[in-house]
Amino acid sequence: MTPLGPFTCEDTARRLDDYLDRELDQADMQLVREHLERCAACAQEFRFEGSVIDNVKRKLRQIDLPEDLTTRIIAELERGKAPGT
């Protein structure tokens, strides 16, 4: 075991996306977490990548549903039920 834990920086970088998305199994989550606690460079990379994702989500989600869209769609469904349509 190295001072940075069982995972090297490369091992950690390879798993960073899955770690950020909580898609690793528990054992790997723990090993990545241990590495990030001990490696300032990887921790900085992790914070940057996580922040890019969070901020892109925040920007992309700034959307309002057009006021009458729900009404139009419900009306369309009603028309779709009519015989012969």
Binding site: E23, R47, I53, V56, R58, L60, L69, I74, E76, L77
Partner: protein, 217 residues
């Protein structure tokens, strides 16, 4: 995490045969899913009118095929799959999106490394937040719109709705491993596309020569 999705084969409407969702219940679930579906559709189409048409077409197909939805499973994911299939069907006919970024595998660009290499502040409490704020909502949306279709679809599901990989896999009808690779690659492409957009807008220093001349990361 939401319940599993039961969805018919690609190319809605889904299977018929299960107990049909009562009309009032279908309508309630559809109305609840519409804001998210419209947001997703807008990020796929990049044009408001197209996004409205897309969710409307998908709603009608969902209504006609509601027998294929299994009560108690994830309605939103089921409807999103229909939206996705409608988008794919339409998009084959009208390829009108701008595609200005070269996404060659050999030319990945990492925002943090690019910031460091170009004198843009990349240290401090939250440098990514400052950079994305400077890039702005419209250019972030443009950056997503420039991704190749399959990467854009996977990234839109990921960024807009926090679906887990397995949920995205069910919506797209592909294995989880495919979702993982599309998201990982798509996120790299998005960073490159964001940087190019920031360069074009003069937010970060433009590279000497034509776009794409400097490779970072």
């Amino acid at each position: 995490m939401e319940a599993a999705v039961t969805i018919g084969p690609p190319g809605a409407p889904p299977d018929v045969g299960a107990a049909e969702l009562p009309e009032s219940e279908f309508q309630a679930q559809l109305v609840a899913a519409l804001p998210a579906a419209y947001g997703y559709a807008l990020r796929l189409c990049h044009h408001r009118a197209d996004a409205e048409d897309l969710v409307q077409e998908a709603a009608l197909l969902a209504f006609r095929g509601r027998g294929g939805f299994e009560s108690g499973t994830n309605f939103k994911a089921w409807y999103f799959r229909i939206v996705t299939n409608c988008f794919r069907g339409r998009h084959r006919q009208e390829q009108r999106r701008p595609r200005t970024v070269d996404f060659d595998d050999a030319q990945d660009l990492d925002l943090r490394a690019a910031s460091a290499a170009n004198g843009v502040p990349f240290q401090g409490d939250d440098p990514a937040s400052l950079l994305i704020d400077r890039i702005g909502t419209e250019r972030v949306a443009d950056a997503l719109a420039r991704l190749p279709d399959e990467f854009r679809v996977a990234c839109a599901l990921y960024f807009m709705e926090d679906f887990a990989y397995h949920e995205i896999a069910e919506i797209l009808g592909v294995p989880v491993g495919t979702v993982r690779s599309r998201l990982h690659r798509g996120r790299k492409m998005l960073q490159k596309s964001l940087w190019r957009g920031a360069e074009d807008a003069g937010i970060v220093p433009a590279r000497a020569g034509s776009p794409g001349s400097e490779v970072v990361g």
